[in-house]
């Protein structure tokens, strides 16, 4: 019965006829606004990290890399790949030779990382296939002079599918070796969506590796894809190592990408910490609001105590008020945060459009008074050159619920001090002052 009284008192404080509830409305708004950036950061960073990790895994590092002596022949690499492919849990084993070179056209040149893979890699490796998007041409690597160029590289080299291009590499047994110029045809232009991969990577066939990459100046490996890349890879790594024959060195994607993943984790943690500080500040505002209500309702507190409402239930009433403020603010904040998150690409594009239109207008006005002044540059919030071309959003219900529950808990805790103050109020001291 008394708990019901606490709910009853709390609900009336929230709806307050005398205007004290305005403090709580402000706090609800504060909590909601503070949660929006936290939710957006959680969803965007989770989506970005997962998007980048998926591309790195499927197009970059493979799930496991089995490094072989660089002198290993292509036939030996293929034989070992077949052996690894038979290991339980392995879904694809791709022999690959990696090297570096210079792609040259009449108009430009660019340093590139060359990855020579079997011509049927698209058929063998479903993960690779799903993360490579052809912008033009075909993914045909069956010819020794075929090459797949990323969209970013194609733009900088001014080439498109079907164009001729030359690959300059060093070839020879001695250190440095002799330069070799290999004429090639761009069979296709692709994009992974992750600019760091797209900036320098070109794909050719293993036949191209024989022609252009010297064994000493290149790296031989077998890229392994497994059923569950996010599970424990230690056992399967051992099995792959055993199946690979002599001198293999097997590394998991976590080992290869450890610095990058640690950097992502640290950045995300720092961002969340900063955004959580905003929520903490907003919850302090709840404490201030409840304190103001305790102050403005000190007569009511005195009356309630005089009719026998105990300290515990008075405290509970104010705690419930803070809790309800937190619940309302959290509900609005989560809804707004999720709405912005799922539309983040459109929101960013819209903001960029508005700012750029303002800049364009400013340029026009300035050109009237300063005709020789250069036009104002364009404004970009999100530079995709360093990340993904668009922000992938993944709604993690666990993270969202944790953020919401944490906020509500903070609000309830923030109400503790004013609630305790209300319960300590001596009724007579209040009633005498009236």
């Amino acid at each position: 019965m008394s708990a019901r009284l606490a709910f009853f008192l709390s609900s009336r404080m929230l709806r307050g006829r005398d205007g004290t509830s305005r403090y709580l409305r402000g706090s609800v708004l504060g909590i909601a606004l503070s949660l929006v950036p936290l939710i957006v950061v959680i969803e965007v960073s989770t989506g970005m990290i997962e998007g980048i990790t998926a591309r790195l895994l499927e197009v970059g590092t493979y799930h496991l890399q089995c490094s072989l002596p660089s002198s290993t022949s292509t036939e030996e690499m293929q034989r070992r790949a077949q052996s690894i492919a038979s290991v339980p849990g392995v879904v694809a084993a791709v022999p690959e030779r990696q090297g570096t070179g210079l792609l040259v056209t009449r108009r430009a040149a660019a340093g590139v990382s060359i990855r020579c893979v079997p011509s049927d890699v698209f058929a063998v490796d479903a993960g690779f296939r799903s993360h490579i998007t052809l912008r033009s041409g075909t993914a045909d690597l069956s010819r020794a002079d075929s090459i797949l160029v990323s969209a970013a590289l194609a733009a900088s080299l001014h080439v498109t599918a079907g164009d001729a291009i030359s690959l300059l590499t060093t070839f020879g047994e001695n250190l440095g070796g002799a330069p070799r110029l290999t004429p090639l045809i761009v069979s296709g232009v692709y994009e992974t969506g992750y600019q760091e991969l797209d900036k320098t990577l070109v794909y050719g066939s293993l036949a191209l590796a024989r022609r252009s990459l010297s064994p000493r100046g290149s790296r031989a490996l077998i890229g392994v894809k497994v059923k569950d890349p996010f599970g424990d890879l230690s056992r399967i790594a051992e099995a792959v190592s055993a199946a690979a024959g002599r001198d293999p060195r097997v590394a998991t994607w976590r080992e290869i990408e450890y610095p990058r993943l640690a950097s992502f984790r640290t950045t995300k943690a720092l961002l969340l910490f900063i955004m959580a500080l905003v929520v903490i500040v907003a919850s302090v505002n709840v404490s201030s609001s409840v304190l103001m209500i305790v102050f403005e309702r000190r007569n009511d507190i005195g009356i309630l105590k005089s009719v026998g409402v105990g300290e515990r239930f008075l405290s509970l009433s104010f705690l419930l008020t803070g809790f309800a403020t937190g619940v309302l603010g959290t509900a609005f904040g989560l809804a707004a945060g999720l709405l912005i998150s799922v539309n983040i690409n459109e929101v960013i594009a819209g903001l960029e459009w508005i700012v750029n239109e303002v800049l364009r207008g400013a340029s026009l006005i300035r050109s009237v008074f300063l005709p020789s002044a250069p036009a104002l540059g364009s404004f970009t919030i999100f530079n995709s050159a360093y990340y993904l071309t668009s922000i992938p959003i993944r709604i993690d219900a666990g993270d969202v619920l944790a953020a919401g529950a944490g906020t509500v808990l903070l609000c309830a805790l923030a109400s503790w001090v004013p609630a305790a103050r209300a319960s300590r109020t001596r009724p007579l001291s209040i009633l005498r002052k009236v």
């Binding site: 404080m13 307050g16 105590k305 005089s306 009719v307 026998g308 300290e311 009724p427 007579l428 009633l431």
Partner: protein, 227 residues
Amino acid sequence: MNERALVEVRSLSRRFQTGAESLEVLSDVNLDVMAGSTVAVAGESGCGKSTLLALIGGLDRPTGGTVFVGETDVTRLEESALSRYRSRDVGFIFQFHFLLKDFTALENVIIPGMLASASSRKLRERGRQLLAEVGLEKRMSAWPVELSGGERQRVAVARALINEPLLILADEPTGNLDEKNADNVEDMLFSLVEKHSRTMIVVTHDVGLARRADRRFLLSGGVLKDS
């Protein structure tokens, strides 16, 4: 056979300390109030009448002495027990109505009842009945701000009776009302106390109100005298 008093105040004193100054408002006060009787304590403003009532009602702690209500020494009760005592055993009526502005007349009446283990339906029924007894059957849903001074004080009387307390403590219950309203509230208060067989201590400087009580005392210089 000696019948034991419902309220036994013994050697009660209350001293207020303000900086270096010490003011003794009550000094060695003794008072017996029999169950079912009404007692008036009169005296000039500031003589300590309200302090005496607050000490009996457990709103304040004495400097010395005891206050027994039934078998309970109110002065020795812990804070939680004191809250229960104020809820179950005492009904307060103050000079100012002290209604909660965010609650309707009916809700103000039943709030003390919500602390006891009464069912919601029964409680509301009793609240309606009490408001009807004080003549406010048509004003149950009104907010305090919509009620006149006399109506608010009648709501306060109904609130004091909701838990059927052993003791009604009325502190200048008509002190803030005009003569007509004061007479109405006075009549209604005494008739309800009699009808419900309650015990009442009323402090007042209104001689007319004091005369209606079974026994009258005068508080002067911190000392209580039979008048």
